[in-house]
């Protein structure tokens, strides 16, 4: 018996992502053209993204409540689909420059994206686990894709070892939760006794597993090394995609399992505060651009966790819940756009073999390559949270959610961190505009596809910084989160 058409349509994005991934690998021996493969991969990513519109208009559960397609999962599908599309677009010239095989690369990106999609729509913990593994294993391979590079090897190895460790935590957590509640379906867990020690322990282990994926302190140690060693387009993917998907699952668990709320509030409070400080203080002393951006993404995970605290503090108040969730989603989108753009610039300025990643290599960029410097400055200002960028409104909504839930002190800590962050973002801008070029550094022309990525991300950053109405209206729609 085949499943109903509705169910198939609800997993259509994943099917398309995986289908095109397999197709790419099959066609590899026959297709000699790099551009042809890139085109095929772009088609896959684009079609998959388009297909995620269907669940938006026709929400519901599929496969006996294993997954749930609704506005929430639709949002994340669009987000990770867009990320994949832009990563593929930006990585085509990169792969050519580094002489790397394109087919597997694109296929792995698509598989990882499919995994993230599953993660975002999972309504059942084992399905979520499958999604997590799909995206993680593809990521491990992608991290080590530059085989000749020692750093890439280190990156892949670290990511793999620590990632497996975290996945084990996650799995053990699922087992304990199952032991406590007798089910792995989130919707049936609401009946469980929220005070049970086994349930709490299980949830704590799940939190540790996902905390690793989103690079929350103290589970963040892998981030700088992995981000630094991985090929930069892959770093862009890492910082935008898996993080968003892991946050999606956390949000799902949160708003469906009542036991999670009260218990996790303080855990999130401490995680958020710690993550912000570790990320920002770590970034202060970096001299490598990729490492600096890696630490900055730790800090941003901390900001998102502040919104999580606000969600956890809702105490059954739906208005607070939607405000918190909307803040998280808005921030994730703004952050994904900015990080994608920033890493794209970095990957192309790095030059062959990614040699030029030191902060000093950016000296005089404002004179040498005004467009690239202006774009990178825009991303940095958005990360810093200056108005007229999406990053500002993202931060604004998080502040609003936090204060709405009376988390004044956490908001103040976040404010302090924003100022610390300002220092290192501005430092890069200082270097680009206020120092003279070092001798022997040439202009690096940007291919058209890279310019397109920069245009899309820059436009998105400004557009969502000025006109958030549509997105916020969409994400704070009642019933948007989890069909309550």
């Amino acid at each position: 018996m085949s499943p109903p058409v509705e169910d198939i349509l609800r997993v259509m994005p994943e099917l398309i992502f995986c289908g095109f991934g397999v197709l790419l690998m099959l066609l590899q021996p026959f297709l000699r053209e790099r551009n042809g493969m890139a085109f095929l991969a772009l088609c896959g990513a684009g079609l998959g993204t388009l297909a995620s519109i269907f669940p938006l208009v026709n929400a519901g559960s599929a496969f006996g409540e294993l997954i749930r397609a609704d506005g929430f999962s639709g949002f994340f599908h669009l987000l990770v689909g867009l990320v994949a599309f832009l990563v593929i677009l930006a990585s085509a010239p990169y792969l050519e420059r580094e002489r790397l095989a394109p087919a597997e690369f694109y296929a792995l990106v698509l598989f990882a994206t499919a995994g993230m999609g599953v993660l975002a729509s999972a309504q059942e913990l084992l399905t979520a686990f499958i999604g997590l593994e799909m995206s993680s294993i593809s990521s491990y391979v992608l991290a080590g894709y530059r085989r000749e590079s020692l750093k890439a090897g280190e990156s892949a190895m670290k990511y793999f070892l620590l990632g497996s460790f975290a996945t084990a935590f996650f799995l053990y957590g699922i087992a304990l939760v199952y032991g406590a509640t007798g089910t792995t379906r989130l919707s049936q867990m609401s009946a469980a006794d929220p005070g049970g020690i086994l349930l709490r322990l299980g949830l704590a282990l799940i939190l540790i597993g996902l905390g690793f994926k989103v690079a929350a302190a103290p589970f963040q140690v892998w981030t700088p090394d992995v981000y630094e060693g991985a090929p930069t387009p892959v770093t862009a993917l890492f910082s935008a995609g898996p993080k968003a998907a892991a946050f999606a699952l956390l949000l799902r668990i949160f708003s469906t399992v009542p036991a999670a709320n009260e218990f996790w509030f303080w855990a999130f409070w401490i995680l958020a505060a710690l993550t912000m400080f570790v990320g920002n203080l770590g970034a202060l002393v970096q001299t490598n651009v990729k490492r600096m951006l890696a630490y900055s993404s730790i800090a941003h995970a901390g900001y998102i966790l502040v919104a999580f605290c606000a969600v956890a503090f809702t105490r059954g108040d739906d208005e607070r819940l939607t405000a918190g969730v909307a803040a998280v989603l808005y921030y994730l989108l703004a952050y994904a756009l900015v990080k994608l753009g920033a890493f794209t610039v970095v990957s192309h300025l790095g030059g062959a073999g990614e040699k030029r990643l030191d902060l000093n290599d950016y000296a005089g960029l404002g004179q040498r390559q005004p467009v690239a410097a202006a774009a990178l400055s825009l991303y940095l200002l958005s990360l810093l949270g200056l108005p007229v960028t999406a990053g500002f409104l993202g931060k604004f909504y998080i502040f609003k959610a936090a204060i709405h839930s009376n988390l004044i002190w956490l908001a103040v800590l976040m404010a302090i961190n924003s100022v610390i962050g300002a220092y290192y973002y501005l430092r890069l801008i200082v270097i680009m505009y206020m120092r003279d070029s070092q001798p022997g550094v040439d202009r690096i022309p940007f291919p058209a596809s890279v310019n397109l990525v920069l245009m899309i991300t820059a436009f998105g950053t400004i557009y969502f910084g000025l006109f958030p109405n549509f997105l916020i209206g969409f994400t704070s729609h009642p019933g948007f989160i989890l069909g309550r």
């Binding site: 430092r427 200082v430 206020m434």
Partner: protein, 535 residues
């Protein structure tokens, strides 16, 4: 032109036009080729001059004797949380806008020959800076206000960091970090206020406070007051938050210093008048004595440091700390007269100190040094410049008939009604300002020319004479025709003070409505605070 015709001609969008016209100019500049320096300068000057004329149209838009907002624009912008694009102008913001639009073309003229590198970017930044500053003064929505407040940082940051002097990067980063540290806490405060009121609209919040619909607990009010006040105090800068100012002023290019001293600092004092006093009246009253003391410390400390400065530009920078102390004192004396004086002093200081920075910049263009010891006897080679310098210095030290006198006099007059000791201490600042300005003038311009390099310095060029003459005319006009200005903002000042009175707080001598009322805390400082409250 009557307000009605004005409204008709502009289609009801005059304020929007005034804010964003320079941005259009900046876009036009981007089209020009970077090598066309002459055209870039001409276009940006034309745009800035046209902007000045546009802003003059606001004067008939604000009728005499009216304390409310005019030429308001109100459009929904962000749906959730409800944020409106709400602009309006009253007597206080009117002249601050005009001050901005006046100083911008002046600084463009002043940078005509002194900026050689990246000319296009320089003027684009200058025009964008103007957008941000004018936007700050015209916003009536807290969110919009914050947005302009932050946006303005970036052009200023580049102006100092790219075209500044030796330690420019240090100064630029310090400037941005100080301001951000204050303003991000203000954002938390704004959101807290939103949480209590459900709106970001300033007039609406004021009405709620007036109508007693919103009662903040004393603790909440205090914290909110501090969140706003510290952001503004850093900007002013009030002692002890002033340490960024000497660096930023000295390292900035002349145009940057002019705008920085002329208008940016006023954003802080403007914020105090516009937000701190009407929104948090009880906390303002409670902290007014402490703030007044800080302001007096700033007046005297700034003057004393200026007295011993070997660096001419730093001397002018510290004189700003001193003069802005008068403004803060005038505001927190909570008297109509003193507040008028404060507003007038903001304008006067903008013109006089702007002119001083221009003159110092002209000296620097010739000799590339700010050290007073490198000069001496300059009156011989450059008599015209020396005459202008003397005129401006006299206005800055408060000579009657010139603009500096009016503001300081009104502030001291108003403060005297509250506390004569404050007036006495603050008045020493006036004496000290005469000391440091005249003494430095003497060392720079009088006596024999000791340094041979100074013997052949060129006197003020035609362009420089135009700049200085226009400044001198305004200085004189403000000194003689001060009622033109005070008449227009007197009522607005009174409105701010009226807004500080809550209906149920009027009978200061009567028993309190409830024990938990904000006035209940009048214990130790009670009697002196009572006098603030009841006016």
């Amino acid at each position: 032109m009557t307000p009605a015709t004005l409204h008709f001609v502009s289609g009801g969008h005059l304020l929007t036009v005034v804010i964003f016209f320079p941005a259009l100019g900046a876009l036009a500049l981007l089209i020009l080729r970077s090598e066309d320096h002459e055209w870039i300068r001409r276009v940006s000057f034309t745009v800035a001059a046209a902007e000045f004329v546009l802003s003059l149209l606001l004067i008939p838009g604000v009728p005499l004797g009216s304390g409310t907002y005019h030429l308001e624009e109100f459009h929904p912008w962000i749906a959730s949380p409800p944020i409106q694009y709400h602009l309006g102008v009253d007597g206080i913001s009117l002249f601050l806008v005009i001050l901005t639009t006046f100083l911008t073309p002046i600084s463009i003229l002043a940078s005509w020959t002194s900026i050689h590198a990246r000319v296009k970017e320089f003027f684009v930044m200058l025009l964008l800076l103007e957008v941000g500053i004018v936007g700050v003064f015209l916003s009536l929505n807290l969110f919009l206000f914050f947005l302009f407040w932050e946006v303005m940082l970036i052009p200023m940051y580049f102006l100092i960091g790219i075209w500044g002097h030796e330690r420019r990067i240090y100064a630029a980063v310090k400037f941005v970090l100080y301001t951000m540290a204050g303003s991000i806490l203000m954002l938390v405060g704004i959101l807290w206020l939103y949480n209590a009121t459900g709106t970001f609209d300033l007039p609406t919040i004021q009405q709620m406070l007036q109508g007693g619909l919103l009662a903040l607990s004393p603790r909440a009010e205090t914290l909110l007051f501090l969140a706003f006040f510290v952001a503004f105090a850093i900007k002013v800068p009030l002692f002890p938050f002033h340490t960024w100012l000497p660096d930023a002023h000295v390292e900035a290019p002349t145009a940057g210093s002019v705008i920085l001293a002329g208008v940016l600092l006023k954003m802080g004092t403007y914020g105090m008048i516009r937000f701190c006093l009407p929104l948090f009246p009880d906390a303002s009253r409670r902290y007014a004595p402490a703030i007044a003391v800080l302001a007096i410390i700033g007046i005297i400390y700034g003057a004393l440091v200026a007295l011993v400065q070997p660096n001419l530009k730093k001397l002018v920078a510290y004189s700003s700390v001193s003069h802005l102390g008068f403004v803060v004192l005038g505001i927190f004396a909570l008297q109509n007269i003193s507040m008028q004086g404060a507003v007038f002093q903001m304008l006067a200081h903008g013109i006089s100190t702007g002119a001083l920075f221009l003159l110092v910049g002209m000296l620097y263009d010739r000799r590339h040094t700010f050290e007073i010891d490198d000069y001496g006897g300059l009156a011989t080679p450059m008599p015209r410049l020396a005459a202008f310098f003397l005129f401006v210095a006299l206005s800055s030290l408060g000579l009657p008939m010139l603009n500096g006198f009016v503001g300081e006099y009104l502030v001291l007059l108003g403060t005297y009604q509250v506390h004569w000791k404050w007036t006495a201490w603050a008045a020493t600042g006036v004496i000290l300002s005469a000391c440091y300005l005249l003494w430095s003038y003497q060392r720079v311009f009088f006596g024999e020319v000791t340094n041979d390099k100074n013997r052949a310095l060129a006197d003020a060029s035609a362009r420089e004479r135009w700049i200085l003459a226009s400044m001198a005319v305004v200085i004189l006009w403000m000194g003689i025709g001060s009622p033109f200005f005070t008449r227009r903002f007197a009522t607005s000042c009174q409105t701010v003070l009226d807004q500080m009175q809550r209906p149920w707080a009027y009978e200061a001598a009567a028993p309190r409505p409830t024990a938990a009322g904000p006035h209940a805390s009048s214990s130790a400082l009670g009697s002196s605070l009572e006098r603030f409250g009841s006016r």
